[in-house]
Symmetry: C2
Subunit: 348 residues, 2 copies
Amino acid sequence: MKYNQVTIKDIARELGISPSTVSRALKDHPDISPETKKAVNELAEKLNYQPNIVALSLRQSKTNTLGVVIPEIVHFFFSTVISGIEDVAYSAGYNIIITQSNESLQREKTDIKALFNSRVDGMLISLSRETNSFEHIDAMMAKGVPMVFFDRVYDSANSSKVIVDDLSGAKEATLHLIEQGCKRIAHLEGPPNLDITKQRLQGFREALAEHNLPVHEDLIVSCPQGTIEEGKAAAEKLLKMANPPDAIFATNDPAAMGAMQTIKEAGLKIPQDIAVVGFSNWFFSSLMDPPLTSVDQPGFEMGQEAAKLLIRQIEVKSKEHIDPTPETKILKTRLIVRDSSLKSGKKK
Amino acid sequence: MKYNQVTIKDIARELGISPSTVSRALKDHPDISPETKKAVNELAEKLNYQPNIVALSLRQSKTNTLGVVIPEIVHFFFSTVISGIEDVAYSAGYNIIITQSNESLQREKTDIKALFNSRVDGMLISLSRETNSFEHIDAMMAKGVPMVFFDRVYDSANSSKVIVDDLSGAKEATLHLIEQGCKRIAHLEGPPNLDITKQRLQGFREALAEHNLPVHEDLIVSCPQGTIEEGKAAAEKLLKMANPPDAIFATNDPAAMGAMQTIKEAGLKIPQDIAVVGFSNWFFSSLMDPPLTSVDQPGFEMGQEAAKLLIRQIEVKSKEHIDPTPETKILKTRLIVRDSSLKSGKKK
DNA sequence: GTGAAAGCGCTAACAC
DNA sequence: GTGTTAGCGCTTTCAC
């Protein structure tokens, strides 16, 4: 902005001293005499001087800004992550620039390039659903841009990332169902190309194996888009079976909701006739009817951890002039049980 | 960032020409010969030259960045607004810097100052719940910083704003209940200091008046924090009355949810025994059981309109060197009826 | 058609 | 203790 903003020069002129003295006085440099400091600070206050960060950024080749590339902002999980990022960034004196790829690889590329042009000090990235090539990422890493991936990560040896322990989370949820006496547990899968889908299925399998329960492959139903409709369709299919399941483990929010709707419409009780657990977040799940027991994903914490990792990386790099070794942080999920008061009727 | 990024100078040196020529060639200046342009562009491509936006910003006193100050990011409505802002900003070539005040006046002040120091070209602001003094805003306006307020606006003559027509929305929702045959309609109010709270109550009153229905003041219950618990408490109080209401108009999401829970727990049917409408957004409301008829708030559109207004203001100001006249944009809500199939049992 | 020079606002050697 | 100078990367007069 122009708006003839007051600069260090204005203060210098008015006080009959040089701009560098003003600069030093403002940052409390030991060389400057107390009187000068006082005069400068008072005038700065009076004129409401505000340092021009853009000039500073150019001068120091450091913008104190983090770029964020996220698939979509309007999503409970991602907005929670942003909030966590903002929290840490604010405390550390960084701004955040948000871009959303809208799940498009093309947009993701454009966004990353734009962030680079803005000379952000580092980037926090969650890949789009479409992303299957990584030259745009590799190019940035080659330039030495600090990057931290979260949730939808780039699985490369030399990139830092923050992920959720999906396998353990899924296992824990499945064990909960088993403890309640469920024997035939269905599994609603998510998008096939995502790693988390595999992890969650694996956790499901491990829980069954631990209790010597067979895995019925026909009880594993795919919900590739993660929509309510898919959840409904899946539940309809399952209910029609000769030997329907006594529980459903839905690995995404909307599918769980859809399934619950269908079950209730069929006149069945949750969890007495069919128990349902979800893989989602406490907020939505608590609103379901009945409230859904679910695996809580620590979005806020993920944002915080990712930002911390990135900031550490940026600062190590600028001070020690070495590339810090990539780190991976795995966050635990938390099973939030909301059907405990109901399960007694079911336990055998 | 340092990362010895290639600059215009590098290209100039390699080609044995001057930086100014390179600059002109890159922006297709008519003076430059086709051969020079070709050489420059090819080398730029080869070296993967990326212009340094920070230098550009300093030079032109224009950052192509919009600052956003929002009470909280993790909120369906606000994240939707951000998405709308991002949409328009991206198309117009602007970055957005997000800050969240966390409903704190102090944070709001800090955020606004930080954005100013970053020399954003303009600001999009939704006030914190605490904000009751406006010097920090006035100071920025005095400096000539373009600002547009949205949703929680600064009600000053010379500020642009985008708001929702809460009065009409509330009226429409109430009329819907009246048409269904409801006679004793309760009103759950929101935070008392917000203007929207008054508007919504006013709309409610007008609808009743239009149908010559009395306003029962004891059916107006305050839910100042807008929490689920408050909604429950309010419903409990209402159900205990000698002559309980036959409908509840809840002016915020969580209160509607809480009320619905209490009503269902009391063994009453929605909407046959008590109809409920909310003032919220389609997404949440569709998940309720039964799905909630509600007044949809156009968050995405609000973000878009606010960003458009701001960008127009910025560009007018920079071109014509005049302060554009403030504009107010009032967006219509949309009543989403989800109880139409159920109401027949109720109509008298 | 191209180059030289100045300047956006700030800081950091280097002088004295 | 303070001033002078140079420069971050870029654009833009003003020369020629």
